[in-house]
Assembly symmetry: C2
Homo-oligomer: 341 residues x 2
Amino acid sequence: MTAGRRTGLHAVAERAGVSVSLVSRILSGDDAVRARPETRERVRAAARELGYQPHGAARALRLARAGALGLVVHDMSNPIHAEIIRGAQAAATDRGQVLLLSDATQLAGNDDAFAQLLGPGRIDGLMWQGSGEEYDDELAARAAGRLPTLLVNSRSRAGVPALRLDDERAARLAVRHLVELGHRDVAYLGGRPGADLTERRRAGYAAELAAHDLAERPQWTVELEWDAPAGYAGMTRLLAAEPRPTAVFVANVVVAVGALAAAREAGVRVPADLSVVAVHDAWFVAHGAPPLTTVRLPLHRLGDMAVSMLLDGDQARAADGLVIDDPAPELLVRGSTAARP
Amino acid sequence: MTAGRRTGLHAVAERAGVSVSLVSRILSGDDAVRARPETRERVRAAARELGYQPHGAARALRLARAGALGLVVHDMSNPIHAEIIRGAQAAATDRGQVLLLSDATQLAGNDDAFAQLLGPGRIDGLMWQGSGEEYDDELAARAAGRLPTLLVNSRSRAGVPALRLDDERAARLAVRHLVELGHRDVAYLGGRPGADLTERRRAGYAAELAAHDLAERPQWTVELEWDAPAGYAGMTRLLAAEPRPTAVFVANVVVAVGALAAAREAGVRVPADLSVVAVHDAWFVAHGAPPLTTVRLPLHRLGDMAVSMLLDGDQARAADGLVIDDPAPELLVRGSTAARP
DNA sequence: CTGAAAGCGCTTACAG
DNA sequence: CTGAAAGCGCTTACAG
C-alpha cells in the first residue's frame, strides 16, 4: 500500500493482489505453479493493463543469459553480406533474441570495443563473418575462447566452428553450364588469394574442368580481391591472355560487375564473344548489361542456421565446418552466357 | 578468504585487497575518490591481470541505461541504407555503445518483437529509417512515446523528430547540371508516390526548372517505387511520353539501375540520346553501362549524427526535422550525361 | 580516504 | 498452492 510508483513485476503484483514471485511464475509459464485459474487470469489481466514488459537487463543478469547474439560483418554494403544478415535477423527475432551488429574492421582497430562486446552480460554467442583477413582468425579465436562462436561463410579456422555454403558444387554447376554451351577455354576469376572462399570455388572449377578433360591454364586463373575494381582489373588481364578464354567463371557477383565493365570497355561483347557466369544472385544483376547468369546459394539460410545452432548450443556440430546445402545451389540462366563463338 | 570463484568486481577487490566499492570507483574514474596512487595502481593491475570487464547487464540495470541504441531499417541490401548503418555503427562504437539492428517489416508483423525491443533495459534510444510505409509512422510514434526516437532520412512525421539530407539541394544540383548541358526537356523519375523523399526531390527538380523558365509536364513525372524494377517500368513510360524528354533526373540510384536497363533495351543510347543523373552514389555505379553521373549525399554522416544526437539527449533539436548538409551535396559527373542531342 | 549497505528488476530454491 | 528471501554484478549515497 505504501508503494506508489513501483514498476515492473512489483506493480503487476500489487494490482493483482498477489506476490511478485507468483506473477513471475505465472507470466513465465512455469509448469510447477498451479494457481487457481482465476488468480492466473487476474495476473494476466494486470500485466496486460499495465503493459508489463520484462526488464531486459534484469532478466539477463539474473539468468546469466543476455538474450542477444552478436554478428560481426565486414562490408554491409555488399549485398551478399546483407542477405546473410537478414537471415540471421529473421531467425533471431523469431526466437525472441535481439541481434547486435558490429563491424570487423572497427573491432580490429578498437580493443575496448571488442572487449566490451565479448564482456559478460552482452551477448550469448557470436557469429563472425569470415573474410580471409589476417586479423579475423585471431579475433574469432579469441571470441571462441569466451563464448559460443561460429564462423559464417568460411571453413573452420583456428579451431573455430564454421558454417559455409556448398562452394564447390556452385562452382561446378556454373562451369558445367559453360561446358554444356560448348566452351572449352574457361577461365577463373576469383577473390582475394588465399581466402577460403576463392580456393573452394577454384577447386570446384578445377574439378569440373577435369571431369570434362578440359585444360586448366595458369594464365586463366586470376585472383585479386573481392570487389568490383578487382573484377575490372582481373578481367582486363584475362582478356590479354594467350590464348584468350571464351568463357569466364567469376567467383562472386560483385567481382563480376567490374568484370563486365572491363569487357564492355575492351569492346568484347558478352555473351557473343565471351560468356560470363558468377556465384551469388543479387537484386541488380537482372538489370545489368547484359543480365548476369548466376548461381544462387542459400545465404539467407546460412544466417538463419547460424543463429539456430548458437541458440541451441549446437555449434560443436560445426566444429569441422558444416556445409549448408539446402536449398541446393541453383543456376539462373540470364543473358551473359551463350554458345561458344 | 572464503571466496573462491567470485567473479567481476569482487574478484578484483579480493586480489587488490580493497573493497568492491573502491574498485568500482577507481575503475570508473570517479573524481571524488582520492585513493593513494599506490592503491590505485594495485587495483588497476588486478583488473588487468584478471581481464576484468564490467558486466553489461548488471551495469545497465543499476544505471538504468542499456548502453545500446536500436536501429530499425527497411532493406539492408539497399546500399544507401547500408551506408547509413555504417555511419551509425561507427559512431556507436566510438562512444562505447552497441547497436541493435532490427528489420522494420519484421517488427511490423511481430508485436512481441516490437514490445521486447522497446521494453525496459534493452535500448536507450531508437533510430527508425523512414520509408513512407503506412505502418512506419505508427510504430515510430509508439516508440517515441517510450524512449528518445529519431526518424532517419525522413522529415519529421507524427511528431517524431527527424534527420534528413538536403534533398532539394541535391535535386537542384542534378537538374542544373542537365540544364547547363543544354537540356530543356527534363523528366522526373521518382520513388514511391507520397513518400517524403520523392516529394522533396521533386520539389527541388521543379524549383530548378522554374529558375530556368523551363516547363514541367505531367507526362514527365513518374513515381512508382524505390526499386530497380520500378525504375525499369518508369523509364519505359517516360520513353513513350510525347514529347520525349532528352534528360531524366532519377530520385535514387537503385531506381536508376532499372531505368538504365530499360533505356538500353529500348535502344535508347545513354548519354547520346538521353542523359541520366541520379541521387546517391554507390559502389556499383562507376561500373555501370554507362557509368552513372550521381549526386553524393552525406549518408554516413546521417547515421553518425543520429547516434550522437540520441546519446546527447539532443533529439529535440530535430523536432521539426533537421537537415544534415555537411558535407554538402556533390555532383559526380560520369558517363551518363552529355550535351543535348 | 575507504567500506558496508541498499537496491536496480528479476527468478528460484526454500518454507510454510 | 503461494510467499519471503537470497542473490545475479554493479554503483552510490551514507557512515565512519
